[in-house]
């Protein structure tokens, strides 16, 4: 039954561009898919390791910038006499660089930020994202600042260039499936159980010999690299990146997706991501102004915390049981 359902879902998702003949709607789904990958990565930290990271968009943005810059090539003066020049690289390599750069930042942030917990960790993570955003605005030589990086090439594998929407849809779907499997394997492994134990009761977990920093840093690195991959997909799909990718509101969107869907569940970010990825379009169809849309977001978030504190997926599970 369950296997049949999964297969049916995969068939529906896999053939979507073949029967959905609406480029705009496909675009909405691609962007929602990219955010679902980002939400899955956040879920690893927020849901499983129990750390509310409100700077998650930094990893997404670093992935986008690193990938875009590697594919375009850049020249930057680090000291007055020392100039670093990077030639344009193939896009698949650039995307890999985006993931590596985001993962490295995750390692660095994980090493320093987990000295503190709770409200302090939240504020450190927000501060990190803001500092990165301001660097993206001000380091014009590297990032073009508010002028944005333009003409970012799309992914090319041999003769296949990902110009059109259906190819990009399949690309995002493939990455999402890989990310899903990765998260599932990780949380069911020894490391994943250690993370959950830390989230549930840190002193107890430490007392049975779980190395707190090691597992939290591991969670952050994997999560950051995955968010970086989402950012790289975004950069080469929309083909323009400006400092607005670091806006706090994107972190909030990811958090809403995870919390609404159900943090600490595998399906949660997907359910939440579909709702909040497609909701703006629904609201726009009802001729709502963007401000009204954000009001709806905010109110929904409050209502979810009040009435579905565990999220939709665990609530459905309870109904079925």
């Amino acid at each position: 039954m369950k296997a049949a359902l999964t297969t049916a879902w995969l068939v529906v998702l896999g053939t979507l561009p073949l029967w959905l003949d609406n480029p705009y709607f496909l675009h909405v789904i691609i962007v929602a898919g990219i955010f679902i990958i980002a939400a899955m990565s956040l879920n690893l930290l927020l849901g499983y390791a129990g750390q509310l990271s409100l700077g998650h968009v930094a990893f997404f943005g670093i992935g986008a910038y690193a990938s875009a810059l590697t594919s375009l090539g850049f020249k930057v003066t680090i000291f007055p006499q020392w100039v670093l020049t990077v030639e344009a690289n193939p896009v698949w390599l650039a995307m890999l660089m985006g993931m590596v750069a985001a993962g490295l930042c995750g390692w660095f942030i994980g090493r320093i930020a987990f000295k503190v917990r709770g409200a302090y960790f939240v504020i450190v993570s927000i501060s990190f994202a803001e500092v990165v955003r301001l660097i993206a605005v001000n380091w014009v030589e590297l990032t073009q600042g508010p002028m944005a990086l333009n003409n970012i090439p799309p992914l090319a594998l041999g003769d296949l260039v990902f110009w059109k929407k259906p190819e990009n849809y399949w690309l995002v779907l493939a990455v999402a499936v890989v990310a899903y499997i990765l998260v599932r394997r990780l949380v069911h492994s020894r490391a994943g159980r250690a993370m959950v134990a830390l989230a549930e009761n840190e002193p107890l977990a430490t007392s049975v010999g779980i190395d707190v920093t090691r597992y939290l840093v591991l969670a952050t690195v994997v999560s950051a690299a995955m968010a970086g991959a989402a950012g790289a997909l975004y950069a080469h799909y929309v083909r323009i990146v400006d400092p607005d990718v670091f806006l706090f509101i994107y972190t909030v969107t990811m958090v809403i997706m995870v919390v609404t869907g159900g943090k600490g569940t595998l399906a949660g970010p997907i359910v939440g991501g579909l709702i909040f990825g497609l909701l703006p379009e629904g609201l726009r169809a009802l001729a709502f102004a963007p401000e009204t849309q954000w009001i709806v977001y905010g109110v929904l978030m409050v209502l979810v915390v009040y009435f579905l504190p565990q999220g939709i997926v665990p609530a459905l599970r309870r109904i079925r049981a």
């Binding site: 001000n138 905010g298 978030m301």
Partner: protein, 290 residues
């Protein structure tokens, strides 16, 4: 040297309002254990109320200021009763998510009500600055500093010399014991949130006429308030006061000697550095991290 003096003076003028923002946030965190993400929106609310009163209805500037602050107090009380009352005892992540939701909704409502165009607010002070030797300062900034210092003084008086203030301090030290001694925790929470919100609104009402009012102005203000609170130690009012002036000084020097583009990054960089080397803040005596 003159340049340094001028930077110091500018920081002094700005530090008063920063301290107001920080004290409001630190009170709410210390007493209620709530990370208040709506703090910046109350700041923006104060500025917009000044705009509505002074520019739209023509109320006298000096009457509008206390009115705007009073409206901020009322909005804070309403938020506490509506959103936080039923979450008392919930863990900090839950209240944080609710406050983020409230923040998004409030900011979007501001944008809807006032549009995205920045609004400037007239002030009755002479445009010519006050010149003292080699340095100069605008009159309206002097007024801002004086009012901010007066409000800080009032808050100290309220906390240290009134019955309500004693109940607040008792709740801060030990909520359960305070409740056993007959302190109405619910009332204390509403009063705390209203007071903290009023201070944020006051900062906005004071700085709105100096700069301009725009819908996302609260984000940066909230971020600065967080930096100040971390600098001074969560829950420490003297810490927040001194922290406000320190942040203003760091920003001024950073903008003056490094690059004005990184002015607003200074606060965040300060947060990261403080939390790495002295996570309890500079002034807190005892603090639990968690």
């Amino acid at each position: 040297m003159d340049q340094l003096l001028q930077h110091g003076l500018n920081a002094l003028m700005l530090g008063g309002t920063y301290a107001l923002l920080g004290i409001g946030l630190t009170l709410i965190f210390g007493i209620m254990k709530v990370v208040n993400f709506t703090h910046g929106e109350l700041y923006a609310f104060g500025a917009y109320m000044m705009y509505a009163l002074v520019m739209l209805t023509g109320v006298n500037f000096f009457v509008a200021l206390p009115l705007a602050i009073a409206l901020g107090v009322l909005l804070g009380a309403a938020l506490e009763l509506l959103l936080l009352r039923r979450l008392r005892g919930a863990d900090i992540d839950t209240t944080m998510l609710v406050m983020i939701g409230a923040w998004i909704a409030l900011q979007a409502a501001e944008q809807l009500a006032w549009t995205g165009v920045a609004k400037s607010i007239n002030n009755p002070f002479p445009a010519a600055p006050l010149v003292v030797g080699a340095v100069s300062v605008a009159w309206n900034r002097v007024f801002v500093l004086v009012v901010a210092l007066a409000l800080i003084g009032l808050t100290y008086g309220l906390i240290n010399h009134t019955k309500l203030g004693r109940a607040m301090r008792a709740t801060f030290q030990d909520r359960e014991t305070a409740a056993l001694m007959g302190v109405q925790i619910g009332t204390i929470h509403t009063a705390t949130f209203a007071l903290g919100s009023g201070l944020a609104a006051a900062a906005g009402a004071l700085l709105g006429p100096v700069f301009v009012a725009y819908p996302s102005m609260g984000d940066l203000a909230a971020a600065k308030a967080f930096a100040i609170v971390i600098l001074g130690g969560m829950g420490s009012i003297p810490g927040a006061t001194i922290g406000g002036f320190i942040l203003a000084l760091v920003e001024e020097l950073g903008a003056g000697y490094i690059s004005s583009g990184y002015r607003d990054a200074m606060g965040f960089a300060l947060i990261i550095v403080i939390l790495l080397f002295r996570p309890t803040g500079l002034f807190a005596r005892k603090e639990r991290i968690g």
